[in-house]
C-alpha cells in the first residue's frame, strides 16, 4: 500500500474507532502488514485467515483455547468471508483491549452463545464448563452458573440476564471460560 494510502487509512480508522489514538492505530496497521506479509496464506495481502489469526492471538495474548479463538475469529470477521481485513483487525482489537464494559459484555456473550440464538442455554453452559472441574464431584454438576446468572428463571440466559449479573459482579464477565486477554 502506498504511504499516502496508509495515512488515509490510519486517519479514517482513528476517526471511526475511538479506542486507539493515531499513533496506536499506525502501529496496529504496521503490525498487521508485517504479519500478513510474513504469512503465505491464500489471503496474503488482504488479511488473516483463521489459523494465522489463532497463532497471532496465541502468541500475543497467550490465549490457548482453540474453540474460543475460533469464536473470536468469527466475531472479528464481521462480513463472514473467512478473512480478517485491516479494518476488522483494528476494530476487533479495540474491543478486546480497550473495550468498555458494555462492549466486553456483548463480546463475551456472543462468544458463549455457541449457536447464536441470543441465549446461553444449559447445554451450552455444560459444554463450556465441562472441563472446568478438576475433581469430578460424584453426583453433582457444575450448574452454579445457571443458578446465579439466570435472573428471570427461564432456564436459559439472555443477554439481559448476563448484563445484569456482570454489572453486579464484574468478575463474572468471563464466567464460562477465559475469552479476553489478561492484561498483565
Amino acid at each position: 500500500m502506498s504511504r499516502k494510502g496508509v495515512k488515509a487509512l490510519v486517519d479514517s480508522l482513528t476517526r471511526s474507532d475511538k479506542h486507539f489514538n493515531k499513533s496506536e492505530v499506525e502501529c496496529l496497521v504496521k503490525l498487521f502488514d508485517t504479519l500478513v506479509a510474513r504469512a503465505s496464506s491464500e489471503y496474503a495481502g488482504s488479511g488473516f485467515d483463521r489459523t494465522m489469526f489463532r497463532d497471532t492471538l496465541h502468541s500475543a495474548f497467550g490465549m490457548t483455547d482453540d474453540v474460543v479463538l475460533d469464536r473470536v475469529f468469527s466475531i472479528f470477521d464481521r462480513d463472514n468471508d473467512g478473512c480478517i481485513t485491516v479494518v476488522e483487525w483494528v476494530e476487533g482489537l479495540g474491543v478486546l483491549l480497550r473495550g468498555t464494559l458494555e462492549e466486553k459484555m456483548k463480546f463475551c456473550f456472543t462468544i458463549y452463545d455457541l449457536n447464536g440464538d441470543g441465549y446461553i442455554s444449559k447445554e451450552e453452559m455444560f459444554q463450556m464448563l465441562k472441563n472446568s472441574l478438576l475433581i469430578q464431584p460424584a453426583d453433582e454438576e457444575p450448574d452454579e452458573g445457571v443458578k446465579d446468572l439466570d435472573h428471570d428463571h427461564d432456564g436459559k440466559l439472555s443477554f439481559t440476564d448476563f448484563e445484569k449479573t456482570v454489572r453486579d459482579e464484574n468478575l463474572l464477565l468471563e464466567a464460562f471460560g477465559p475469552c479476553l486477554p489478561d492484561i498483565k
Binding site: L129, L134, Q136, P142, D143, G155, E169, L171, L172
Partner: protein, 969 residues
C-alpha cells in the same frame, strides 16, 4: 446383588485375568452403593427381606464369631442366627470362616456388624458368588439366557406361576434391576471417558482375547501377537516417530477363517495397516475404516470370530453387552443431567438440610438457649459453603471464579457464614488463591475476605495464615482494582496490634501511602484514583492506631498526601483521610503539620458537610489539635466556632456530640474564642447538655463550661440557666476524667459570690472536700484548686471548713504528696484556709509548718508562688514565724526573689515581710542578700509587691538600728 453390577465390576477383573475384584476407585464406589442398598433393604422392603434364598450365598469371611452379638447363637467358632426358615434351618451360618447367608435381612444385619470390614465382606461375597441372582432366585433367573431379554423372560415366568412367592421374587428382581440401573448410571461417566483408546485399554483387550485364542475349534482366534515385544514406559509399543501420530501398537491377528490381519491400534481407534514389509518394517498406511476397538474390528472381518464369540464364555458376552448398555445409557444420562439439574439441586440441598438439623440437635444439649434460633439456617449455610468450597478447591480458574461469586451470594456479614468459611477450611483456600497469578481468582477471594474480615476470629485467622504478607505483596500489582481490594481487606484485618505490626514489617505502609499518590490529584479527580486513594486511606486509618505506624506514615511522606486529599470534596475519601489525621493528631509532630499545612481550614470546612460521620471525625481532629494555642486561633480565623456551636443542636448522634463538645472545650481555652462562643450563646446550649448524656459527652461539656467560667459573664449565664445544680450533682460521679473537669467548672463558678451561695446550699464544698480522698492525683489537685474560690467566697467559710470532720488534717497531709500539681493546689488552698485564725491554729497543730518548709527547695515557679503565699498566711499564728526560720524555710524563700516570674516575687515578698517580724529571720535574709533585691522591687508598679518589699526592708533596718543601739547605745 446387582447382576449388571457384577458384570460391571467383573469387567475390570476379567481384563486382568483373575477372579478377584480390582481395588479401583470405581469398584469401590460400586461396592459402596451395593452395601448401602443391602443395608437399607431390610428397612425399606421388610417383606422382601424375609425371602429365603434358593441357595445360600457362601464365602470366606474375615469376621469371627466374637463380632456377632444379639440375635445369634454363638458356639465357639460357629455362629447361627436365631432367625430360621420354615424348615428350621438358620438363615446365617458361620463355621470355620465360611459364611452362608440366606436372606437379605441377614445380609443387612451382617453388614452392620462388619462395620469397617463391610467393603471387604461385600467384595468377598461378590467374588465367591459371581452371579448372586442365580443363588438368590434360582438358576432360571440367571443372566445366561441373553443380554436384554432376561427381564422379559422373568416376567413371563412370573405371569405363568402365581402366588406370594413368585410375586416376592418379581419384586426382588425389579429392585435388583433398579440397583443395576443406578450403578450403571454412576459408572457411566467413568466409562464414557475411556472411549478413546489408550495403551492400557488396548493391552487389556489383547490380553483378554489371548485368553480365548489358540488351537481348537471353539477359540475365537488362532493367534494374536504384538509385532514388537518392547514396550515404552508410556505403555506404547509403536516407535516414537509413529507415537506422535497417536499410534499405540501393531498386532498380527490370525483368525480361523481368513488370512493374517495386520492392524494398528491408535488413540483414534483400530484399523488395518499395509502389513509387514520385507524385513521388520511395517507399512503404516491406513487400509480400512476406523473401529473403536479390536473386537468390533474382528466382528467385521471374521465371521468365525463372531460365531465363536457367541459360543464363548459368558465373560466375553457380558463385556459386549455392557458396552452397548453403557453407550446407550451414556447418551441417555447426558440428556438426563441437563434436564434434571434443577430438580436434583433442590433435592440435594433439602436432604443436606435434614442432616444439618439432626447434627445440630446434639449441640442443643450443650447450649440450648443460644443455639435454638437459626439452627437450620446455620446448617444450611454451612453445607452450602462447604459445597462451594469444593468447587473453589477443585476447579480451573473459571470454575473457581464462579464458585467464589456464588459464595458471595451468601450473607457474608452474618457470623454463621463467616465461621462456616473458616470451619470448612475454605479460608486457607482463599488465602492460597491470593498467592496465585490469576487476577480474577485473587479479586474474587479478596472480595470475600474483605467481607468476612469484619469478624474478629476471621481477622486473627487471616493473620495467622500469613494472609497479610500476601496482601501487602498484592499492593504492588499493576491491577488497580486488586490493589484496592487488598488495601480494603488490610484495613479490616489490621485492627489488632500484631496485624498492624506485620503490615509495617513487610513494608506495607510505604505501599499504602503510595496509593494516595495519584497523578491527577489537583483540579480534577478520576473516579479510579479516588477509589484507590480511599482504600489506601482506609488501610492507613486502621494502621495509624499504633504509635510506631504513625511515625512510619510520616516518614513515608503521608502527611502532604493526606493534606492534598483533604482538599477534595468526596465524602467517602474524606472520612478515612480525616480519620487517619484524627488518629495521628495524638502525635505533636502531626499537630504541627496539620497546622502548618493549612489543614485546619479544610477540617473546619468539612464541619459543615452533610455527612455526620465526616463531621464527627473533623470535630475529633480539631478536638485533638486544639491543644495548641495557634491551632485554636486558626479555628477561629477560619470561622469554625460557629459550625461547632451549631452542631450542638444535633443531640441524637452521641459520637458527633462528644467530638463537637470536645472541640468546643479545647477551643474555649483561648479567651478570644470564649468571647465568640458568648456571641453564639454556646454556654446556654452547653448547660442543657448537662443531663442525660453519656459520660464521654459530659466530660467535654463540663470541660467546656469550665473554660467558659473564666469569663465573669458566663458564670452568671450558667447560674441563670440553672447549670449549677446539675454540675454539683456530677461531683458524685466516679469517672476520674469527668471529676477533674467537674471540679474545675465548679471552682470556676465559685468565683462568683452569688453562685457560691448556691453551691454551698447544695453542700458542694463538702463534696469537693471529699474528693481530696480520691486516689487519682489529678482529681485531688483539681478539687483543691476548686476549694480555693469556695473558701474565699463562702459566707462564714471558717465555720464551714471547721465543720468538716478531719478535713483540715486531710488537706495538710496532702502536702506529703509526690505530685507537683497536688502540692501547688494544696498550698493555694491552705493559703486561703489560713486566713481564718482558728483553722490556722488547727493546721499548725497538724504540723503544717514543717511540711511547707520541706517544700521550699523547689524550682517550680508555680509551686514557689503558692508555697510563698501559704507561708505568708501561716505566719499569722503563734510562733509560726520562728518555726519557719527553724525549719530552714527562709533561705530558699530568699532565693525566690531571683526568679523571673513577677507573681513569685509578689508572693515571696509578702512571705518575707511576714517572716521578717522575727529577728533571726531578718539575719538570715540579710545574709542571703535580699535587701538589694527588695530595694529594686520597691520601685515596682505592683502596689502589693511594693508595700511588702518596703515593709520587709523596714523590718530589717529596724533590727539593724536596734542592734546598733544595743551595741553603742
Amino acid at each position: 446383588m446387582g447382576v449388571t453390577l457384577a458384570r460391571a465390576a467383573q469387567w475390570t477383573a476379567a481384563g486382568s485375568g483373575t477372579d478377584t475384584l480390582e481395588i479401583t476407585p470405581w469398584n469401590k464406589s460400586l461396592l459402596n452403593q451395593i452395601i448401602k442398598f443391602t443395608e437399607d433393604f431390610s428397612t425399606k422392603h421388610p417383606q422382601e427381606a424375609a425371602y429365603v434364598f434358593r441357595e445360600p450365598l457362601e464365602w470366606k469371611t474375615c469376621l469371627d464369631s466374637s463380632a456377632f452379638g444379639e440375635g445369634y447363637e454363638i458356639n465357639e467358632a460357629t455362629v447361627q442366627s436365631e432367625a430360621k426358615d420354615k424348615d428350621g434351618q438358620p438363615l446365617l451360618i458361620l463355621s470355620a470362616s465360611t459364611l452362608r447367608v440366606r436372606s437379605f435381612d441377614q445380609l443387612s444385619r451382617l453388614l452392620r456388624i462388619a462395620v469397617e470390614k463391610k467393603l471387604k465382606e461385600a467384595q468377598a461375597c461378590l467374588e465367591a458368588n459371581r452371579d448372586p441372582i442365580v443363588k438368590i432366585l434360582g438358576p432360571e433367573y440367571g443372566t445366561v439366557e441373553g443380554e436384554d431379554t432376561s427381564i422379559l423372560h422373568l416376567f413371563d415366568k412370573v405371569e405363568k406361576e402365581s402366588g406370594l412367592e413368585t410375586q416376592l421374587k418379581m419384586k426382588i428382581i425389579l429392585l435388583l434391576h433398579q440397583l443395576d440401573l443406578q450403578l450403571l448410571n454412576s459408572s457411566l461417566k467413568q466409562i464414557s471417558q475411556d472411549v478413546r483408546l489408550n495403551p492400557a485399554a488396548v493391552n487389556n483387550e489383547v490380553n483378554l482375547l489371548k485368553n480365548f485364542s489358540g488351537q481348537g475349534e471353539d477359540t475365537v482366534l488362532e493367534s494374536l501377537e504384538y509385532t514388537s515385544d518392547y514396550m515404552f514406559s508410556n505403555g506404547c509399543r509403536a516407535p516414537p516417530w509413529r507415537q506422535v501420530h497417536g499410534e499405540i501398537c501393531y498386532l498380527v491377528i490370525k483368525p480361523h477363517d481368513t488370512d493374517p490381519l495386520y492392524i494398528t491400534c491408535s488413540t483414534a481407534g483400530v484399523f488395518l495397516n499395509g502389513g509387514q514389509l520385507k524385513g521388520k518394517d511395517i507399512d503404516y498406511e491406513r487400509k480400512s475404516d476406523l473401529y473403536k476397538d479390536i473386537v468390533t474390528f474382528l466382528r467385521e472381518r471374521s465371521p468365525r470370530f463372531v460365531e465363536n464369540m457367541a459360543k464363548q464364555n459368558q465373560h466375553m458376552r457380558r463385556i459386549i453387552s455392557m458396552w452397548k448398555v453403557l453407550r446407550f445409557l451414556a447418551n441417555f444420562r447426558a440428556f438426563m443431567i441437563l434436564q434434571k439439574i434443577g430438580e436434583k439441586e433442590n433435592k440435594a440441598s433439602s436432604s443436606l438440610e435434614d442432616v444439618g438439623e439432626s447434627s445440630s440437635e446434639t449441640d442443643e444439649d450443650e447450649q440450648p438457649v443460644r443455639h435454638q434460633e437459626g439452627n437450620t439456617d446455620l446448617s444450611a449455610e454451612y453445607w452450602g459453603i462447604q459445597k462451594l468450597a469444593k468447587y473453589v478447591k477443585g476447579g480451573d480458574p473459571t470454575a473457581t471464579v464462579i464458585a467464589l461469586c456464588s459464595m458471595r451470594d451468601f450473607n457474608l456479614s452474618q457470623e454463621s457464614c463467616q465461621l462456616a468459611i473458616k470451619d470448612t477450611g475454605c479460608l486457607e483456600v482463599l488465602i492460597n488463591l491470593l498467592d496465585t497469578e490469576e487476577i480474577k481468582c485473587q479479586a474474587g477471594s479478596l472480595k470475600i475476605l474483605k467481607e468476612i474480615s469484619q469478624n474478629v476470629l476471621i481477622r486473627h485467622a487471616i493473620a495467622d495464615l500469613g494472609g497479610l504478607e500476601i496482601m501487602v505483596k498484592i499492593l504492588d500489582s499493576p491491577d488497580t482494582n486488586l490493589k484496592c481490594l487488598a488495601a480494603e481487606t488490610i484495613a479490616n484485618v489490621a485492627r489488632f496490634k500484631r496485624a498492624r505490626k506485620t503490615v509495617r514489617q513487610h513494608g506495607g505502609i510505604k505501599k499504602l501511602v503510595e496509593l494516595l499518590d495519584c497523578i491527577s490529584v489537583g483540579s480534577s479527580y478520576q473516579a479510579k484514583d479516588t477509589e484507590t486513594a480511599r482504600c489506601g486511606a482506609l488501610a492507613l486509618w486502621s494502621l495509624s492506631k499504633s504509635a510506631i505506624n504513625k511515625k512510619a506514615i510520616r516518614r513515608a511522606g503521608g502527611i502532604p498526601l493526606l493534606a492534598r486529599w483533604l482538599k477534595c470534596s468526596h465524602t467517602n475519601i474524606l472520612i478515612p483521610v480525616v480519620g487517619t489525621l484524627e488518629e495521628c493528631a495524638s502525635e505533636p509532630s502531626y499537630r504541627l503539620a496539620i497546622r502548618t499545612e493549612g489543614m485546619i481550614e479544610n477540617l473546619v470546612k468539612n464541619l459543615s458537610s452533610e455527612h455526620e460521620e465526616l463531621q464527627t471525625h473533623c470535630a475529633s481532629a480539631i478536638f485533638k489539635c486544639a491543644e495548641d494555642e495557634e491551632t485554636r486561633d486558626l479555628v477561629r480565623k477560619h470561622e469554625g466556632l460557629q459550625p461547632l456551636s451549631d452542631l450542638l443542636g444535633n443531640s441524637e448522634n452521641k459520637q458527633l456530640l462528644a467530638a463537637v463538645t470536645g472541640a468546643i472545650w479545647k477551643c474555649a481555652i483561648s479567651t478570644e474564642n470564649v468571647l465568640k462562643f458568648q456571641e453564639y450563646k454556646t454556654v446556654e446550649t452547653l448547660v442543657t447538655l448537662l443531663t442525660d448524656q453519656p459520660e464521654e459527652v459530659l466530660i467535654n461539656v463540663i470541660g467546656a463550661l469550665g473554660e467558659c467560667c473564666q469569663e465573669q459573664e458566663n458564670r452568671g449565664t450558667i447560674r441563670r440557666c440553672g447549670g449549677i445544680a446539675p454540675m454539683v450533682k456530677l461531683l458524685t460521679a466516679t469517672n476520674q476524667a469527668l471529676l477533674v473537669n467537674v471540679n474545675k467548672a465548679v471552682g470556676g463558678c465559685a468565683m462568683e459570690p452569688e453562685n457560691m451561695s448556691i453551691i454551698d446550699s447544695l453542700d458542694g464544698v463538702r463534696l469537693l472536700w471529699s474528693l481530696l480522698k480520691n486516689p487519682n492525683p489529678d482529681v485531688q489537685a483539681s478539687a483543691a484548686w476548686a476549694l480555693c474560690p469556695c473558701v474565699e467566697n463562702a459566707k462564714n467559710s471558717g465555720e464551714m471548713v471547721r465543720s468538716f470532720v478531719g478535713g483540715l488534717e486531710l488537706i495538710v497531709n496532702l502536702l506529703k504528696s509526690k505530685d507537683k500539681e497536688v502540692l501547688t493546689s494544696v498550698c493555694a488552698a491552705i493559703a486561703n484556709i489560713a486566713k481564718d485564725e482558728e483553722n490556722l491554729a488547727v493546721m499548725t497543730d497538724h504540723g503544717v509548718v514543717p511540711l511547707l518548709s520541706k517544700l521550699a527547695n523547689t524550682n517550680n515557679n508555680k509551686l514557689r508562688r503558692h508555697l510563698a503565699e501559704a507561708i505568708a498566711h501561716c505566719c499569722m499564728w503563734g510562733s509560726n514565724r520562728v518555726a519557719f526560720g527553724e525549719t530552714k524555710a527562709v533561705a530558699p524563700l530568699a532565693r525566690y526573689l531571683k526568679s523571673k516570674d513577677p507573681l513569685v516575687h509578689r508572693a515571696t515578698a509578702l512571705a518575707l515581710y511576714q517572716l521578717s517580724e522575727d529577728p533571726n529571720n531578718c539575719v538570715i535574709m540579710h545574709e542571703n542578700g535580699v535587701v538589694k533585691l527588695l530595694l529594686a522591687m520597691v520601685g515596682s508598679t505592683d502596689d502589693a509587691l511594693q508595700e511588702a518589699a518596703a515593709g520587709c526592708i523596714a523590718n530589717i533596718r529596724r533590727l539593724a538600728l536596734a542592734t546598733e543601739k544595743a551595741k553603742y547605745g
